[in-house]
C-alpha cells in the first residue's frame, strides 16, 4: 500500500449518538464528581418544586378540602409568596454559578484530554457539544431527582400541617405539570452554566493544552 498525495479534505464528524455515548461515559466514570456537581441542581430544583407544589396543594385543598382546612389556609397571607419567588430565583442563580464553576474545574482537569481530542481531529464545536451534553445530562438527572425529592418532602410537610387530606386530594395533574417545568428548567440552566467553560475548552490551542502538566 502506498500513500498517494491526497488533497486536503474538510469532512470531520461527530454523530450525536457518539457524542451522547462519550458524555454519558464521562459522567459514569467520574460518578462521584458528577454527583457532587449534580447535587447543586438537585437541591435547587427540589426547593423550586416544593414551592410550586405547596401552592398547588394549597389550591387543591381550598377547592376540594374540608371546611376546617379551608379556614386554616385562608389565614395565610399572599405576602409570603413574593418572598418565596425571590428565594427560588436566588437558589437557581446559585445553582447556575455552581455548575459553571464545576464545569470550569472539569475543563482545567481535562486540558490534556481536550488537546488530545483536537489532535485526533476534533473541531471546536465537538468539544463544545461534548461539554454541553455532559452538563445537560447531569442537569436532567439532577432535576428529575430534585423534582421528585421536593415534591415528596412538601407532601410530607403539608400532610403534617393539614392531615391526610393532602394525600387523598393530591393534585396529580399539577404535580406532573410542575415536574416537567422543573426538569426542563434544571436541564436548560445546567446547559447555560456550561456554555462559558465549554467555550474556553474549545478555544484552546492543542499545543498549549498538551503542555499543561496535570
Amino acid at each position: 500500500m502506498t500513500h498517494q498525495k491526497e488533497k486536503i479534505g474538510k469532512q470531520v464528524v461527530l454523530p450525536l449518538s457518539k457524542a451522547v455515548e462519550i458524555s454519558v461515559k464521562s459522567i459514569k466514570t467520574r460518578l462521584g464528581r458528577s454527583m457532587i456537581t449534580a447535587s447543586g441542581i438537585v437541591l435547587a430544583i427540589a426547593f423550586l418544586m416544593s414551592i410550586f407544589m405547596s401552592g398547588s396543594i394549597n389550591k387543591a385543598l381550598l377547592e376540594k378540602g374540608s371546611a376546617e382546612v379551608r379556614v386554616q389556609l385562608q389565614n395565610i397571607g399572599g405576602e409570603e409568596q413574593v418572598k418565596q419567588i425571590w428565594l427560588v430565583v436566588l437558589s437557581l442563580l446559585v445553582c447556575v454559578v455552581g455548575i459553571a464553576n464545576a464545569m470550569l474545574m472539569s475543563v482545567t482537569e481535562r486540558y490534556k484530554e481536550i488537546g488530545t481530542m483536537k489532535c485526533l481531529g476534533a473541531l471546536d464545536r465537538f468539544v463544545i457539544k461534548l461539554f454541553l451534553l455532559e452538563s445537560g445530562f447531569m442537569g436532567l438527572f439532577g432535576s428529575i431527582a430534585g423534582a421528585l425529592l421536593g415534591g415528596f418532602l412538601i407532601t410530607i410537610v403539608s400532610s403534617i400541617n393539614y392531615g391526610l387530606e393532602v394525600i387523598t386530594k393530591f393534585p396529580i395533574v399539577g404535580f406532573l405539570y410542575y415536574f416537567v417545568i422543573a426538569v426542563i428548567l434544571g436541564t436548560v440552566l445546567s446547559i447555560v452554566g456550561a456554555i462559558y467553560p465549554a467555550y474556553t475548552a474549545a478555544r484552546m490551542v492543542p499545543a498549549d493544552a498538551m503542555r499543561s502538566e496535570i
Binding site: T2, H3, I8, V13, T116, F126, P206, A207
Partner: protein
C-alpha cells in the same frame, strides 16, 4: 515518487513571549522530509524539538516561516481543513501516551475513525485488527489505567495509525518507557514504516532510535545543526559511545 516531500519547512521561527522576555525557541528551521522516510530529531533538552513537532503537526502556528504538508501551506488551511489534516493525514504519539482515560483501548483507537466518518462496525473491525497488530488483541476492553506504560504506548501507536495517515509524528515516544519496552515501541514504529510506508518523524533523546532512522536531524538552540544519513551514522555512533 520517492522524491516527493511529504513535509517541508521554510525558515520556521517560533518566539514565545513571556511578560517582557521573548524567547526564540526556533530560529529558522529548513528541512525536507521524503515520503516513507524514518526521521529522528535529536537534541538536548530545551533545544526546540517539541516546538518543531507542534509546528509540523499543525498544533501551533509558527511566528514566521512556512510549513508545507504534501506541498500545502498549513497556514492557509481553515479550521475544518486543519482538523481533517490532524484526523486523516497525521498520527500523533506522545511521551505521556495521552489516551482518553474514560475510554477503553478499543474506543481510543476508534475515536479518530469516528471523526473521519467511518461506520461503527467498520471502525471496530479495524480497531481490533490494529490492536492485535500491536500485540494487544486480548486487552481491547481495558481502560488505560489498567494497562502498563508500554501497553498504553502500543494503544497510542494503534490510534495514530487508525486513519492510515501519511505521517506519524512522535514526541519522545520512548521517553517514559524502560529500555526493553522502548525498544519494542521503536521496532513497532519501524515495522509500520516498512509495511505501510508511513513517514515517521520522531523527536527523541533515545540513542536506540538511531539504529532504525534513515536520517537524523540534530537540533541545538532552535537550529538544525547537522543532518546525517544512517550510512554516516554507523561511523559516528562508535565515537559517541567511545567518548
Amino acid at each position: 515518487m520517492a522524491e516527493e516531500n511529504v513535509v517541508r519547512t521554510r525558515g520556521v521561527k517560533k518566539v514565545f513571549i513571556m511578560g517582557n522576555v521573548a524567547l526564540e525557541a526556533l530560529k529558522g528551521i529548513n528541512l525536507e522530509i521524503k515520503r516513507g522516510e524514518y526521521i529522528s530529531i535529536m537534541g538536548p533538552s530545551g533545544s526546540g524539538k517539541s516546538t518543531l513537532f507542534n509546528m509540523i503537526g499543525g498544533l501551533d502556528k509558527p511566528t514566521e516561516g512556512k510549513v508545507y504538508i504534501d506541498e500545502v501551506d498549513v497556514a492557509q488551511l481553515d479550521a475544518y481543513e486543519l482538523a481533517w489534516l490532524r484526523c486523516r493525514k497525521i498520527g500523533y504519539i506522545f511521551q505521556t501516551f495521552n489516551l482518553i482515560p474514560v475510554m477503553t483501548a478499543l474506543e481510543n483507537v476508534t475515536l479518530p475513525m469516528t471523526f473521519a466518518g467511518i461506520s461503527t462496525d467498520e471502525s471496530i473491525d479495524k480497531g481490533v485488527r490494529l490492536l492485535t497488530m500491536v500485540g494487544l488483541g486480548d486487552r481491547i476492553q481495558h481502560k488505560p489505567i489498567e494497562l502498563s506504560g508500554g501497553q498504553q504506548q502500543r494503544v497510542a501507536v494503534a490510534r495514530a495509525l487508525a486513519n492510515d495517515p501519511a505521517i506519524v509524528l512522535a514526541d519522545e515516544p520512548t521517553g517514559n518507557l524502560d529500555l526493553k519496552t522502548g525498544k519494542e515501541i521503536i521496532d513497532l514504529l519501524r515495522k509500520m514504516n516498512k509495511e505501510k510506508e508511513v513517514t515517521i518523524i520522531s523527536a527523541t533523546h533515545d540513542l536506540k532510535m538511531l539504529d532504525v532512522s534513515d536520517r537524523v536531524f540534530w537540533i541545538r538552540d532552535g537550529k538544525v545543526e547537522r543532518v546525517e544519513r544512517r550510512a554516516d551514522l554507523d561511523l559516528n555512533i562508535g565515537t559517541v559511545e567511545g567518548e
